[in-house]
Each structure stands twice: as structure tokens, then as C-alpha cells.
């Protein structure tokens, strides 16, 4: 099935902004005519300055397809051009242009079945959160194992929502902190490795659909670990972030 061509730019209005961490926030958008999306897809966003200068970036969609509003979560990139504007400047009522949804390769719906293995590096959690929200909205009990790698507890997106989702209905969420270990933390505090993926499961051979999202080096490494562990290469879906100038 081929969805409509995603090239049409449309004006979206910022309905609300929600702080997620000190460096990231969610923009809630009203986008009249938005055709809907599948969990895991992204959109292109375009800004126009008074002198006509335009800048364009891609952002993963955070909201479930079932949600009433379209949401993206943006993390500030140091010295970035667009992300500081979206995280620090934009306020409700502002207009932006968006086009999409984009991407048919890095998507999941409950009809695709499971089990699911979702591995996020930093803000790579955003499209995976859309999948988890979709799963919850559909009251699906598909097994979903989630590994979130973040620098520290303060950098985890959607921390409260993740905590509220688990542990039930076949959902298992694990975290690893690569820089700052929270006080009293007894969990993982290192980069994602083979032992971690082995402990989390699902085991290779269970036919898991694997989705890995994060910065390019993170995705390269985790995808290789999964294939080395015996997961089918074509079941390992990847989405890499920047560097595209922020």
C-alpha cells in the first residue's frame, strides 16, 4: 500500500509547549489537513525568517496515531540553528510549516505483531515512544522490551510516563546511564553491550522486530550487536540522527 505523496508543506500552529528535560521539549501542533501517521514516522519542519531565509530539519513524531494532536519532541543541539529556536523561543500561537508523514521503513503497528525490542540512544526514544503509546492506545499485550540509554536520569525523555507504563502487559523497560549514575542506582551504568541485550531479551530466534534509534555511532554499534547476537538483519530497523546542523 502506498500512502499519499508526503511533499505538501502545510502550516501548523503551536498549541502548547511541554518541557520534557532541561534541554528538550515537546511541541503540540494543530496541523489542519494532516493525513495521519504511523508510529515511528517523522516529519520535515521548515522555518522562515523575515528576510526570507529558510531552514529545514526532520523530527520524529512522538504522538501515537490515535492522539488528537500532532506532537514532536525536540532536544537542543549545541550551536544548532533550528533546535534552540524550537526549544527556547517558540510559544503557543506561533506558526511553522510541516510536511509528512515521512518514512515507511521505520514503523510499527500492533497489526505487525511482536515481540518488540526497542533500543533508544538519547532523544532516539521519540519515535519508539510513539510505538509504545500506540501499543497502549490499542491495549495491545504484544511483548515489548525497551532499553533506554541516556547520559543521566535528568536526560531521560518521558521518564514519568515510562515509569507509569511498566511493568505490566508484557512491557519491560530498562535504562542504562552512561555518564551520571543517580544516587542509589543499582542498574546498568555503561554503554549498551551484548550482555545487556541478552539480559533484556527477547532472545534471538524469538522473531523480535527490533527498532534502534539514536546518533549514528550508537545505532551502528547496537545494530551490529543485535545481528551478532543472532537477530535477523532484516528485522533490525534503524533510524540515525544528525549531524545535519541542528
Amino acid at each position: 500500500m502506498t500512502p499519499p505523496v508526503p511533499v505538501l508543506w502545510r502550516t501548523a500552529t503551536v498549541r502548547d509547549v511541554v518541557a520534557e528535560t532541561a534541554h528538550a521539549r515537546t511541541l503540540v501542533l494543530d496541523a489542519p489537513g494532516w493525513p495521519g501517521h504511523r508510529a515511528g514516522q517523522h516529519l520535515d519542519l521548515r522555518l522562515t525568517a523575515e528576510d526570507g531565509y529558510q531552514a529545514q530539519r526532520s523530527y520524529s513524531i512522538a504522538s501515537a496515531p490515535e492522539a488528537a494532536a500532532l506532537e514532536i519532541t525536540v532536544e537542543v543541539i549545541d550551536d544548532g540553528e533550528v533546535s534552540p529556536y524550537l526549544v527556547e523561543e517558540v510559544r503557543p500561537g506561533d506558526e511553522l510549516e510541516v510536511r509528512g508523514p515521512i518514512g515507511g521503513h521505520f514503523t510499527w503497528s500492533v497489526a505487525d505483531g511482536g515481540p518488540l525490542l526497542l533500543v533508544a540512544g538519547g532523544s532516539g526514544l521519540v519515535p519508539l515512544m510513539a510505538m509504545l503509546r500506540h501499543r497502549a492506545a490499542q491495549a495491545s499485550d504484544v511483548a515489548a522490551h525497551v532499553l533506554v540509554s541516556a547520559r543521566g536520569e535528568q536526560d531521560v525523555l518521558y521518564g514519568d510516563e515510562l515509569a507509569a507504563l511498566e511493568p505490566r502487559d508484557g512491557l519491560r523497560v530498562a535504562r542504562t546511564y552512561t555518564r551520571v549514575r543517580p544516587q542509589g542506582w543499582t542498574g546498568w551504568a555503561r554503554r549498551v553491550d551484548a550482555a545487556m541485550l541478552d539480559a533484556l531479551g527477547p532472545a534471538p530466534g524469538a522473531g523480535a522486530r527490533c527498532f534502534v534509534c539514536g546518533p549514528t555511532p550508537f545505532v551502528e554499534r547496537v545494530a551490529q550487536l543485535l545481528v551478532d547476537a543472532g537477530h535477523e538483519a532484516r528485522a533490525v530497523h534503524t533510524e540515525r540522527f544528525g549531524p545535519t546542523g541542528g
Binding site: T48, E50, E81, E95
Partner: protein, 201 residues
């Protein structure tokens, strides 16, 4: 008509010396990494630099031989077609004049080629008379692979895609032969001061 993004200014040109910033460019303190492909990993033992094409006999230098040639240290501004410019970049390397010393040729153009099958075309006169170098040192350190190390061509008066990363040779040609980007719309010459970004510019 696109809606204006309140408070969005984009990359700023303010404070830039107009005599050093070509039209349409912005200044960056960073050194952005752009690449047409993966970073090649050629061992220095296997590396060589070759000049072939329209000359009596091809010339070739090993890495050791290249380092033994007279090296020049210089500071220039660089301008990328994706609109960033970086001022006062400090390099060291071998002038292309040194490599072409004693060569007689009918050629009017060169094709620079690199590991990873990248190519870019230039007029021979634009890599002559102190206008181009094969550089191996940036800011006093060996040139990083992500920036084109072990050696890249440096032709600072043209857009930076002409300064081929991972350069391995120059082929002297009679005719202009469009390279990797020039064959999909980018300007054959690429003068940043005349904003020659694309074919029709």
C-alpha cells in the same frame, strides 16, 4: 507564501567582515564535516600520490616521499557551497607547483581523484601559481581522517568541494571532465565570490 517564524533569524551574518565573507555565506567557528561517502582507511604504507594523464611519464610519490618535499605553512579562508565559511584556517602541505615542477603538458584541466571514487574537476591554471596544495597538516596536527586525512587537496579560492578529501592524484586532461558533484548540477568552476554554486549560476 510561507508564514514567518516569529523570532527566527537563522545563521547570522552580523559582525562579519564583508570583504572576507562571500555572498550568501555565514561564518562558523566549527569545522563542519560533509562527505560524499564513508571515510576511507588507506594505510600510509599503501598510500601514494600520482600525477598522470597528458604528460610524458606519470609521476608518483609515496607518503614518505611526499613528506620529504618542501612544505608550506599558510592561513586561508574556506567557503563551502552549503553556505558556511570558516576564516583563518591554518594548513601545511606541498604546493601543487612543487608536484608539477618540470612537467610539460598540453592539458588545460585536471581531475582530482580520491579514495572512495570521489572526483572533482578544475582548470590547470587554478591549481598552479601558488593557488593549490596537497595538505597533510591542519592547525599544527596531522589532518584528521574526517577532514580528509591523511591528505586532501586545498584550493581555497574555490568552493570547498573542489578541495577533494582523501586525494590520491591529479589526472591532466585536455577537456573539462565534470566530477562527482559537477555532473549533478554543481558549477564547473565554483567561484564563491561570484556565487557559482550551480550549473546556470
Amino acid at each position: 507564501m510561507a508564514p514567518l517564524s516569529r523570532g527566527f533569524h537563522g545563521r547570522r551574518r552580523e559582525g562579519a567582515d564583508p570583504s572576507r565573507l562571500p555572498p550568501g555565506q555565514y561564518l562558523t567557528p566549527d569545522f563542519p564535516v560533509l562527505s560524499a561517502g564513508p571515510t576511507p582507511r588507506t594505510r600510509l604504507d599503501d598510500w601514494s600520490f600520482t600525477i598522470d594523464g597528458l604528460l610524458d611519464a606519470p609521476l608518483s610519490w609515496t607518503w614518505e616521499e611526499l613528506l620529504a618535499l618542501p612544505s608550506e605553512t599558510f592561513t586561508v579562508d574556506i567557503h563551502c557551497v552549503t553556505k558556511w565559511s570558516k576564516l583563518d584556517t591554518a594548513w601545511a602541505g606541498v604546493s601543487v607547483d612543487t608536484l608539477l615542477d618540470g612537467v610539460t603538458t598540453e592539458a588545460e584541466h585536471v581531475v582530482a581523484w580520491s579514495d572512495g571514487d570521489y572526483t572533482t574537476n578544475l582548470p590547470l591554471e587554478d591549481v598552479s601559481d601558488g593557488k593549490a596544495w596537497v595538505v597533510h597538516t591542519y592547525d599544527g596536527e596531522p589532518l584528521e581522517p574526517e577532514h580528509g586525512g591523511p591528505a586532501r587537496l586545498l584550493v581555497p579560492h574555490l568552493y570547498f568541494w573542489k578541495s577533494a578529501k582523501w586525494v590520491r592524484g591529479l589526472r591532466l586532461t585536455a577537456e573539462n571532465e565534470p566530477g562527482f558533484w559537477e555532473s549533478v548540477g554543481y558549477h564547473d568552476y565554483g567561484d564563491p565570490w561570484r556565487e557559482q554554486r550551480y550549473w546556470s549560476d
